[in-house]
């Protein structure tokens, strides 16, 4: 649920990075944080376990620039990927405006990707969102790994609704900003549609 503040002339939107455990959601946010100028970002918060697995969420506030005299602020969140943190994932999806689904390209993780995307659909449905309607992009991460499945296979198994898709290697930044730009565009386009 975007928040338009006429008084401070700001639009605030919430983007959630979703996906199975260890797919690279937090790595995406770290890369964005490290490559963004200090004026455009706030402090990154990671609520993680001692072994740096996401426990509740990571949070990164970004300011992209002005549009029609309004500052655009995007709040990026990740969810914990492990199956047993489902209650936390549901909470973080509340009020979401757009989703980046980060899939792990390794063949061995294909079922985990599928399970996570079904879980996303269920959790969205619980909050009265429809996965077919909410702005969403797919990112096929870890393209650098030797066991990465061909892009066509990932598309066939995961991209059932023709979402925009991006190849990525979040550790070196390949595809990270392309993914972010696309989801930000889709969210803003939705905002425009919603006000018609």
């Amino acid at each position: 649920m975007s928040f338009i503040n006429y008084s401070s002339r700001e639009i605030n939107c919430k983007i959630v990075y979703y996906g199975p455990g260890l797919c690279g959601k937090t790595t995406n946010l770290h890369y964005i944080y490290n490559k963004t100028s200090p004026q455009a970002k706030g402090k990154m918060i990671s609520l993680a376990t001692e072994t740096e697995r996401t426990l509740f969420f990571d949070f990164l506030p970004l300011q992209l620039g002005e549009i029609r005299g309004f500052k655009t602020r995007f709040h990026l969140y990740t969810v914990p990927g492990q199956v047993f943190y489902d209650a936390s994932r549901k909470l973080i999806l509340k009020g979401v405006d757009g989703i980046v689904f980060v899939a792990d390209s390794q063949r061995a993780r294909m079922e985990a990707n599928e399970e996570s995307i079904f879980n996303l659909a269920d959790n969205l449905k619980e909050q009265c969102y429809d996965i077919a309607k909410i702005p969403m992009v797919l990112q096929y991460n870890k393209r650098d790994l030797p066991m990465a499945a061909p892009a066509e296979e990932l598309t066939r198994r995961l991209n059932t609704r023709q979402w925009p898709e991006f190849m990525a290697t979040a550790t070196n930044g390949f595809g990270v900003f392309d993914t972010l730009k696309e989801i930000a565009k889709l969210v803003l386009q939705e905002l425009k549609k919603g006000t018609r």
């Binding site: 649920m1 975007s2 928040f3 338009i4 503040n5 006429y6 008084s7 401070s8 639009i11 605030n12 919430k14 706030g42 402090k43 918060i45 609520l47 509740f56 969420f57 949070f59 506030p61 992209l64 620039g65 002005e66 549009i67 029609r68 005299g69 309004f70 655009t72 602020r73 709040h75 209650a87 936390s88 549901k90 909470l91 973080i92 509340k94 009020g95 909050q127 009265c128 969102y129 429809d130 309607k133 909410i134 730009k181 930000a184 565009k185 803003l188 386009q189 905002l191 425009k192 919603g194 006000t195 018609r196």
Partner: protein, 159 residues
């Protein structure tokens, strides 16, 4: 899908007035009103001393987690939280079902006074939010984003 939240200048000023009065009357260090999704609406008192963006996101996460706990226990919600520190204390309460009122206070005041003033402030905020919801329903179609072009969006990324 939940409805979009829009804040107009007039309601914003009203909310600001209520929060500033609450900060003054409860002798608090700072008062924040936060959207349940973690976006700051209004800051009053000595708010410049705090990282308000982080604070808003963490408080919203905490309220969401507490709401989850409430559901597990068959409660509608736990509407108030209190954190006691060595120096500062936090009083957090849900207002009008969609916003969170945070009061940060130290030993110059008491929890009793804060609770009393929060209750009064929350009632006023509820009235303002009710008016805001009605106004948004009426005026929602007249926002500048109806005129948004693809070029506007592209320009955002060309900087």
């Amino acid at each position: 899908m939940s409805s979009q939240m829009v804040m107009y200048d007039e309601e914003f000023r009203h909310i600001e007035t209520v929060c500033e009065r609450l900060a003054r009357d409860s002798v608090a260090r700072a008062v924040f009103l936060i959207d349940k999704n973690g976006q700051l609406i209004v800051a009053a008192g000595q708010s410049a001393n705090f990282d308000t963006t982080s604070l808003a996101s963490l408080v919203a996460g905490e309220i969401a987690a507490t709401g989850g706990l409430a559901q597990l226990m068959g409660e509608r919600e736990f509407s108030t939280l209190f954190h006691e520190g060595d120096r500062d204390n936090l009083h957090i309460s849900v207002v009008a079902s969609r916003a969170i009122l945070v009061v940060i206070f130290d030993k110059r005041t008491s929890l009793g006074l804060v609770r009393l003033r929060v209750k009064k402030g929350a009632e006023e905020l509820e009235t303002i939010f009710q008016a805001l919801v009605e106004r948004t329903a009426k005026e929602g179609a007249q926002t500048p984003f109806a005129e948004l072009t693809d070029e506007d969006i592209d320009n955002l990324f060309s900087v």
